[in-house]
Symmetry: C2
Subunit: 184 residues, 2 copies
């Protein structure tokens, strides 16, 4: 979030076709839950485009980057690394340490897919498990970010949005972001 050391999310192991929607959801979750940037493999160009479109409509700042090798982006990162994996240490045990360290330095959050090289486990300052049960990289990222930011991400301000959703007890209300005219 703005005025704080960067939180960047990198997605490893994207399989074109099969992983398109999961990678899109990784990118959208990173944006919605307080990260500053997502790094996706070039093969996930469609996912990158969707996240950019959402940022255009609903605001930022949020950056979407595509790279030829996300693994190399991990190697070259000069900062803290938290790797989300069901084999890691419990998030409830490590999150306070991550939060404290990240107050002083940027943090790369590594989200894997099918196979993650052992180098990533070694490069990580923390291998973090959101339960040691198999579930979803999107769910793990969401819980990790919500606990990292302690809920502050939920009332983040969005700039340069075209529209915004107005919370409703029932139904849907969307307004132009300047609030001038009622929308849907």
């Amino acid at each position: 979030m703005e005025g704080e050391p960067e939180v960047r999310v990198v997605r490893l192991g994207h399989r074109p076709g099969r992983d398109d929607r999961m990678t899109t959801h990784v990118g959208l979750t990173a944006r919605a839950l307080g990260a500053d940037r997502v790094v996706l493999p070039e093969a996930a160009g469609h996912a990158a485009e969707t996240v950019r479109e959402v940022t255009g409509r609903f605001g930022g700042p949020f950056a979407v980057e595509t790279v030829s090798s996300p693994e190399r982006a991990v190697e070259r990162w000069d900062g803290l690394v938290a790797h989300l994996t069901m084999y890691g240490e419990p998030v409830e045990d490590v999150i306070d340490g991550v939060r404290e360290a990240r107050a002083e330095a940027p943090l790369l959050v590594v989200v894997g897919a099918a196979k993650v090289s052992f180098d990533v486990y070694e490069a990580a300052d923390w291998n973090v498990a959101v339960t040691n049960q198999p579930h979803s990289e999107v769910a793990a990222l969401a819980v990790f970010l919500d606990r990292l930011f302690e809920g502050r991400e939920l009332d983040r301000d969005w700039r340069d949005a075209e529209r915004r959703v107005v919370p409703q007890a029932a139904g849907k209300r969307v307004e132009p972001a300047d609030g001038a005219e009622p929308g849907e």
Copy 2:
């Protein structure tokens, strides 16, 4: 979780093929993060099978049900209903009320997809937004459950598991669930 009023997750609007993996992740996230049962549409039979397999390997109790109409499962539910939607009220404002009510009565958590009928908004006791930003039904479910259970779901016990993951600072360790022999 056991010894408490049931938390059941129902997935609406599954589109076969396109939504298979997302629906699988909804089911796995429901299981890993403390729900007791997931209700999926019959068209998501492959997703249901995957969640049952994971429950067989990593333990339960967790029930997977397929129904011809998840919408009807919402109508017929005798208990509380929380519908996750980006158009709803902020999770941080409503979650304490949900938790308090659910201490006395079972809770159905409704997870939508593309289009959700207005009847669902009306049937819900709470329409809940995990941010009013578009992101992921899996991420929304994960944050909702983690906040509902206040992290208690993370150290849930699993019964009848064939194997369990042993948390590691780096690397992977999987053991037979009885702890007798090391596996991988």
